[in-house]
């Protein structure tokens, strides 16, 4: 039996066994994160702050005094403004973003470069890491994962910044 066959058997066993196990949420408290990359830097976003994750396939660009506003998209029958999350965090212009996340708090889409996966960590895995520089301005804590430390971007803080920028831009 080769490795692939063993893997398939393991998958089958895990899949079959999953029906017998208790749900994770009942066993222990866990928190979900989205692992993303902004200008090559690894970041994380709390899944609870996100309403939807979708690939950036169609974007209608608009002329705007707000440079972080890259356009608008149609989402579930509504027009949602899309902002460049990297620009909001102070990164210089990079390659065109390929992913969008819809903020859960208000209808706003945040575009980012790369989606690396879903992380489910024990609640409280994030450690406080406040910062003042632009890249750290919206980071409230960090995640310690086997691959390394990953700053957690506060969507709420980003939305506040967007609101401020928008008001300043239209004033």
């Amino acid at each position: 039996m080769n490795d692939a066959s063993r893997t398939a058997a393991q998958l089958r066993q895990d899949f079959d066994g999953s029906f017998a196990e208790a749900p994770h949420g009942e066993r222990e408290a866990r928190e979900d994160f989205l692992a993303i990359r902004l200008a090559g830097d690894a970041h994380a976003v709390r899944l609870a702050d996100v309403a939807c994750l979708l690939p950036l396939t169609s974007l209608t660009r608009l002329p705007s005094p707000v440079s972080e506003l890259i356009g608008i998209i149609g989402f579930r029958g509504a027009i949602v403004p899309a902002y460049d999350l990297g620009a909001l965090l102070g990164y210089a212009a990079q390659d065109p973003p390929r992913w969008l996340m819809i903020a859960a708090a208000r209808p706003a889409a945040l575009a980012f470069g790369a989606f690396e996966g879903h992380l489910r960590l024990a609640r409280g895995a994030g450690a406080p890491q406040p910062g003042t520089e632009p890249a750290r301005r919206h980071v409230r804590d960090v995640l310690r994962t086997p691959e390394g430390v990953r700053p957690v971007v506060s969507i709420e803080s980003v939305l506040e910044t967007i609101e401020t920028i928008v008001q300043q831009g239209f004033d």
Binding site: A4, T7, L11, F15, S18, P23, H24, G25, D32, L34, L47, A48, V50, A51, C52, L53, L54, P55, A104, G117, H118, R120
Partner: protein, 487 residues
């Protein structure tokens, strides 16, 4: 300019002519003297014959007187002897004086007188015998006999006188001839002496100058010859040395030629073996070429299969892209389902669990897809590598096939060249043997030449010695002909 020989010849010729003249004069004088001497002798003979005739007549008369007086026959012996001799004497006188007419006349006169005297004597004797003494005396007393005798004596005296005159005349002629001869000899000798002395002086002077010039020339020439002989000897020595070196070199060349001949023979044998091997190699190459063509066809098949495998891998990759896309979309949907389940509160927990399982499954599918993609990429890379390697192999096989063809052609060319080489090696062998023979001949010729050079060297030495001797001889000769100029 007169030559040395001409001068001497003319000097000797003039001297010879003078001597010949003197000799001729002397010969003529001697001849005249001889003839005169003969004539004197002749005259003496005539005188003797005349005296003998008178004497015989006297003897006959004496015998007649004795017989007449004695009557003894013994006294007639002188008469009888004279009677026989007188006729012969008359005959001799006639012959001896045949060139003298006066004497012939006297003989003509004397012969009757002699006959008369002899007849008187005979008659007296007959009278004595027949008539006795008296008759005989009586007849004698007639004086007939005396008269005849006296006439005969007178004739004899005349003949003798004439002969004496002839003797005197011939003595004068002898004296004159001898005087002329003496004068001629003395004057001629003196003239010859003067001429020979003058000619000798002039010849000596002229010849000395000429000989001295010639001797100087010979001396100069001998010096040049000495120098030339020295150079020739030096050149001959160098030639001899060179010839020795050439002989050594030729010997080495001969040995080398023999070695080359042996090597050419071995090369010929090796070339024949090579030709056989090349023909065998050509056949082997044909078989190998056929094998390579088979390999090439198999490689083409492998390439086609690998290209097909590559296409399938690409198709698998495309399908895997779909699976990957589906896994990603499933993952996104699972995440969004998780979000929705979370938003649904407690009612969504169970849905959240399912969504989480779906997300995990999608993650695993994505992971497996990555692994499959990695494997597919590996397969495609291996296929590409294999195709490239196979194409490279195909090209290598093509190149090998071409090279085998070229090698086969080269083998055929090698076979041809080896045949040519074999022929050339045989020709080289033959040529080298001929060359060895020629070199042996050259060696022999060089040896002969070396011998000739050594002989030339020896000859040059002899020439040098001869030139030195000639120089010394010319110097000595010059000293002989010009003592003052032979410094």
């Amino acid at each position: 300019m007169w030559t040395f020989g001409r001068k001497i010849a003319i000097g000797f010729a003039v001297s010879f002519v003078l001597l010949l003249g003197i000799g001729g004069v002397a010969y003529r004088s001697i001849d005249a003297l001889t003839k005169t001497s003969y004539l004197v002798t002749h005259t003496h003979i005539v005188l003797e014959r005349v005296a003998a005739l008178v004497s015989q007549l006297k003897d006959a008369e004496t015998g007649q007187r004795g017989f007449v007086l004695t009557g003894d026959e013994a006294y007639l012996e002188p008469y009888q002897t004279a009677n026989g001799a007188i006729a012969k004497l008359l005959k001799d006188l006639r012959e001896l004086t045949a060139d003298n007419p006066s004497q012939q006349k006297r003989l003509d006169a004397a012969e009757p007188l002699v006959a008369a005297k002899l007849a008187e004597l005979k008659k007296t004797i007959e009278l004595r015998r027949q008539a006795g003494l008296e008759a005989a005396i009586k007849f004698i007393q007639t004086g007939e006999g005396k008269k005849s005798m006296d006439d005969l004596r007178r004739l004899a005296e005349q003949m003798e006188l004439e002969e004496r005159d002839l003797l005197k005349q011939r003595a004068d002629e002898v004296e004159a001839a001898a005087g002329g001869a003496r004068s001629t000899i003395v004057l001629g000798t003196l003239f010859c002496l003067v001429f020979v002395s003058g000619a000798g002086f002039f010849l000596t002077r002229s010849l000395t100058a000429q000989i001295a010039a010639a001797v100087r020339h010979v001396q100069l020439s001998s010096t040049e010859l000495q120098s030339a002989a020295n150079q020739q000897a030096a050149g001959a020595r160098e030639s001899a040395t060179s010839m020795t070196e050439i002989t050594t070199t030729i010997s080495e060349l001969l040995a080398t030629s023999r070695q080359i001949a042996e090597s050419a023979q071995r090369v010929s044998g090796v070339a024949e073996q090579t030709a056989t091997a090349a023909r065998s190699g050509d056949g082997t190459m044909r078989l190998a070429n056929d094998s390579i063509l088979g390999i090439r066809q198999q490689v083409d098949l492998v390439v086609n299969h690998m290209l097909e495998l590559g296409k399938k891998s690409q198709q698998i990759g495309a399908v895997l892209d779909i699976v990957s896309e589906l896994a990603e979309q499933t993952n996104i949907l699972a995440i969004n389902a998780t979000i929705e389940a979370t938003g649904a509160g407690d009612a969504g927990k169970r849905f959240g669990v399912v969504a989480d399982e779906i997300r995990k499954l999608a993650d695993r599918v994505a992971g497996s897809t990555k692994e499959v993609r990695t494997l597919i990429d590996d397969v495609r890379g291996a296929v590409n590598t294999t195709v490239m390697a196979t194409e490279t192999g195909s090209k290598a096989v093509d190149a090998g096939s071409r090279q085998f063809g070229e090698v086969a052609t080269a083998f055929r060319q090698i076979a041809g060249l080896v045949a040519t080489t074999t022929e050339a090696a045989r020709e080289i062998e033959l040529s080298t043997k001929q060359q060895s023979t020629a070199v042996e001949q050259v060696n022999l010729a060089i040896s002969n030449t070396a011998q000739a050079t050594r002989e030339t060297e020896a000859s040059s030495g002899q020439t040098l010695q001869t030139a030195s001797q000639l120089a010394g001889l010319s110097k000595e000769l010059l000293r002989l002909v010009q003592p003052q100029g032979a410094g």
